[in-house]
């Protein structure tokens, strides 16, 4: 779906890289056990970050080796499951389901076929997760509905659009401590803003081709699905500003066992991902849509 929130691998220690992977595996296991086999295919890096952010302050890291269908012989290290892994697995099911429904509504009958099938396969898992996290379910459904209706009105404010998406991520914040909850909401708000705008950069050419709404095209009056240098510069600065807001929020939180990886992601990973999306959308000649 998105998957923009990831570490800059070359700057991780090997131990940290393995811990990061073990968290991914743990989420995957959580999805399979709670939501069935189909659910495990929806996993992406964004939710690994969320898990690390919501990880309880006093929960230490530990992992155990176990086999799984993808690694049947050697097995993989799977980090211990906590309330955070359980919660993020549920959140990822809810968000993915509504994103799929969203594309079913947006795209034509044939183009939406894969989304239609996937959302059907995910429906049972979604119902279960929605029952467990009604607050988040409400925020996702409401937020995406608002986005759809603003898209139809060709909303000119990029920030207004980003705000709706950012509020969805805000709703994922969970901390019993009121102050820390406030910090996490602020952090996730700017992460949501960053993801929304960067995704619009990524989609600008395709949206133009298909005649779809793109918030940047409207905000900057772009034609032909291309970013000019001035627009690119302005977007890079506003995205950097959101990253700075994320950093200043994070540094006010008490550290947990994922601190090195979280710092790698916000200080290095996000700027690197942003660079690669901009490089792609300015240099891209054809319809190259490879994963970043």
């Amino acid at each position: 779906m998105f998957g923009y929130i990831r570490p800059l691998q070359g700057e991780l220690k090997i131990r940290e890289f393995e811990q990061f992977r073990s968290c991914y595996c743990s989420l995957c296991r959580e999805l399979k056990d709670r939501y069935g086999i189909t659910a495990r295919f929806i996993l992406n890096y964004d939710f690994v970050f969320l898990t690390m952010l919501l990880w309880e302050e006093n929960e230490e890291y530990s992992c155990a080796k176990d086999k799984c269908p993808l690694h049947p012989i050697k097995g993989k290290c799977i980090c211990r499951r906590t309330e955070a892994t359980e919660r993020c697995a549920g959140y990822s099911v809810i968000l993915t389901y509504w994103k799929l429904r969203d594309s079913v509504a947006d795209d034509g009958f044939f183009r939406s076929f894969p989304s239609r099938i996937s959302s059907l396969l995910l429906k049972r898992a979604y119902k279960k997760a929605a029952l467990k996290y009604p607050g988040f379910e409400n925020a996702v459904r409401g937020g995406l509905e608002e986005l759809t209706s603003l898209e139809k009105q060709n909303e000119p404010s990029m920030d207004k659009m980003a705000d709706k998406f950012a509020n969805i991520l805000c709703a994922a914040a969970h901390d019993e401590n009121e102050t820390q909850q406030r910090i996490k909401r602020q952090l996730l708000y700017h992460m949501g803003r960053w993801i929304y705008i960067l995704d619009a950069v990524n989609d600008i050419e395709e949206d133009d081709k298909r005649g779809n709404y793109n918030p940047l095209a409207v905000r900057y009056g772009l034609n032909g699905g291309k970013l000019d240098d001035e627009t690119k510069n302005s977007l890079e600065i506003t995205l950097k500003h959101s990253v700075n807001m994320i950093i200043s929020a994070y540094e006010l939180l008490p550290e947990n066992c994922w601190k090195e990886i979280i710092r790698n992601i916000i200080y290095l990973g996000m700027p690197a991902v942003s660079d690669s999306v901009f490089d792609k959308s300015t240099a891209r000649a054809g319809t190259d849509r490879r994963e970043i």
């Binding site: 950012a166 406030r182 905000r219 600065i237 995205l239 950097k240 807001m245 950093i247 200043s248 540094e251």
Partner: protein, 205 residues
């Protein structure tokens, strides 16, 4: 009372230099410039206060215990003094009486009220645009905030407060970056930041 050494993240057996370094790093991290008009500025200010108190306490106790070689309290890197006023001072620039209530709302962090008051106002001058920019900034609508600051500067190009706000946006804000995590892109280096911050501080006093 919390242990001052744990506040600075050092052991009680740490040398004076180690303590000074830990203090400097933390003071750099929570410096008001990193939280300029930030909705979490009050929390950073609290942190700063804790750190300053812990550092003062350690230096004082070491000076009286004779373990320190001339380390005196109030070393403070100039952070302990004016830092409190530096928060949110963007709105304390002695603006017109017409927007006194708006500034008051912004100072206590009541963004919704500030926005309501501004929308109800019939005056749409440079100051209005500047204050609206501030509202949007705190909401996290950074692109809109920049547009309002830009309009304020266009209407009143000589106002240094408005110009500073716009310059801050044009740089993408500031945040702490620990050693080894220097941001690569953006084309700014430490000197640029220092100069900009010095100018900023001078204007804000």
């Amino acid at each position: 009372m919390t242990d001052p050494y744990s506040v600075l993240g050092v052991s009680p057996s740490a040398s004076d230099d180690e303590i000074k370094k830990a203090y400097r790093d933390l003071a750099r991290k929570y410096h008001p410039d990193n939280y300029h008009d930030n909705p979490l500025a009050d929390l950073a200010q609290e942190k700063m206060k804790e750190i300053n108190e812990a550092y003062d306490q350690i230096t004082k106790s070491r000076a009286s215990g004779g373990s320190s070689t001339g380390g005196s309290s109030g070393y403070g890197y100039g952070y302990s003094g004016g830092s409190q006023q530096n928060y949110r001072n963007n709105t304390n620039y002695g603006g017109s009486a017409a927007f006194a209530q708006v500034r008051e709302a912004l100072n206590v962090g009541d963004i919704a009220r500030a926005e309501r008051l501004l929308n109800a106002s019939s005056v749409r001058n440079a100051e209005w645009n500047y204050l609206m920019g501030n509202v949007y900034y705190q909401k996290g609508w950074l692109d809109e905030a920049r547009n309002y600051y830009q309009r304020a500067v266009q209407m009143e190009p000589t106002n240094q407060v408005y110009r500073n706000a716009l310059a801050y946006m044009s740089n993408g804000g500031y945040a702490y970056s620990p050693y080894g995590y220097q941001q690569r892109s953006g084309g700014i280096d430490a000197c640029d930041i220092c100069t900009a911050l010095m100018c900023f501080n001078m204007c804000c006093r």
